[in-house]
Symmetry: C2
Amino acid sequence: MELSRPYLLFLGDVPDALAAKTALGIVDWRRDWCVGQWRLPGCNADTGLPEMTAAEAVAAGAKTMIIGVVNAGGKLPDHWVDSIVEAMAAGLDVAAGLHQRLGAVPAIAAAAAKYGRTLSDVRHSVERFETGKGTKRAGMRLLTVGTDCSIGKKYTALALEAGMRAAGIDARFCATGQTGVFISGRGAAIDAVVADFISGAAEWLSPETEPHVWQVVEGQGSLFHPSFAGVSLGLLHGSQPDAFVVCHEPTRTTMRNVKTPLPTIQEVIDMTVALGRLTNPAIRPVGIAINTHALGETEAKATLEAAAAAHDLPATDPVRFGVANIVDKLKAEFSL
Amino acid sequence: MELSRPYLLFLGDVPDALAAKTALGIVDWRRDWCVGQWRLPGCNADTGLPEMTAAEAVAAGAKTMIIGVVNAGGKLPDHWVDSIVEAMAAGLDVAAGLHQRLGAVPAIAAAAAKYGRTLSDVRHSVERFETGKGTKRAGMRLLTVGTDCSIGKKYTALALEAGMRAAGIDARFCATGQTGVFISGRGAAIDAVVADFISGAAEWLSPETEPHVWQVVEGQGSLFHPSFAGVSLGLLHGSQPDAFVVCHEPTRTTMRNVKTPLPTIQEVIDMTVALGRLTNPAIRPVGIAINTHALGETEAKATLEAAAAAHDLPATDPVRFGVANIVDKLKAEFSL
């Protein structure tokens, strides 16, 4: 899959920033690929990019409009269809990561045909996967896991890839979700794979490599999330990580979109080891990534120090303080 | 979904009885719906039904040919296509539970159109599922779990449904796999659901009921199987069982189609409770179902006695000795 760049990011009228995490993630990691954002009245998310209509974006050089949102169930709201048609009329291809295919909406399919535009659904991989085998592959792997969905697993993986490379490690980000695929240009949205093939897809996503290569696999969901734990477990088994980093947000009390309380970091560590050792008996935690966005500087540092002491692991907020301490731990733990 | 009966069971040239478990399961529970079996040279499975060609089956009243096999990956072998076309020419509809749709094979699609026959893919539900919510639903649920795939979870659930009904309990089998759907006439193949919706599909499969009703949910895979554990976990979370029964086969050393050793019954009990309490804190084991087919009578009884003593739970081989002891335990445990 190769999308034409640069991008116009479409945010629709999503109710909050979390719902626009696809667009925000693209801007965080590939700002120079984006010319602007297009928001509808009522939108409560903001990437900070210039506001543009589709026509203005085309004038600024944009080639593809990315539907930069996620919503539970992955359905496309009916009142966004006119904007998508308008984008194609203006000259843009359209890409999305929804469960529902863009081309399944008759008006969108008709406009794509009329204007000769390309529709890309990154959540619908053209790959055919095998069932997982569970056998050990050469190369090293790190997986980010979490106490919830939407808690920094992708961001942490991308920050670790950058930090490990800066430290001389041959690190390679493995995208497992729609935003990651937009950012890396390869990968597959593992939550859209047929259930029988989750771990098989994870094996395909982090294939055998030379022994010194570290694949940094973007985690999905949480083993403790009642909607998505099956995806998280299949990804854990298939990616057979040597190391994992736990991602957490300390002010959240219930898991995203459900009433289930968040597990503790220790519960996530224990369960990840208990389940992960099925395909890698040497699995171990190497750090904790805490999103301290809601905390002041002093409180943030105290929170990180407390987590580090409680779990005897380096703790950081990758956005605020970088990931050097986790990279140092990884180097020490694996003699890199 | 409603299939016309009676059935002709097509076994192809599968290498062993496990690969024909769909056909064998239908015969075990709905013998009177079946007129015969059709096997190709080299087939090593046998349902005991009369051998018939498609034409002979039509003469005997058959309405639908069931592709009664499973194979890793769910693909239809090319050399079965001629037989499927021949069945339609003779007058039969065709139903299968493979991942690959029957209609995706051009020759099969063409024959269905030419002869006006119906193709049914029970693994491709027409239902649209929501993501799982994790909230408690009224009614009681029992889930069968296992130390491996293909180890008796469906059979045990059907035997428990029958035994519980005989004991005056309003028990209702919930099919979650292709054979179960063929047997019950409803349900969905949960391993064919898109990964994001596994637990949501499980919630749909065992909906809210009157408080006294027991839904007996057919388990899938194993939490310890590196190919399918994600499916097992989503089913566990979505079905939120009050009670579970562990299924086991004592002579098996590695899990089906992989090199991973079998977990112990105790490991399965502990992990099922540890993970299952997320959506039902009261989850508890009520019995052990051991497939003693490979053991003599004395050894079988000794194996069951040892398992019962080791885990302080009733143990039985549902095929050989029935499930009365597990039903008794359930009645005592839940004051039924």
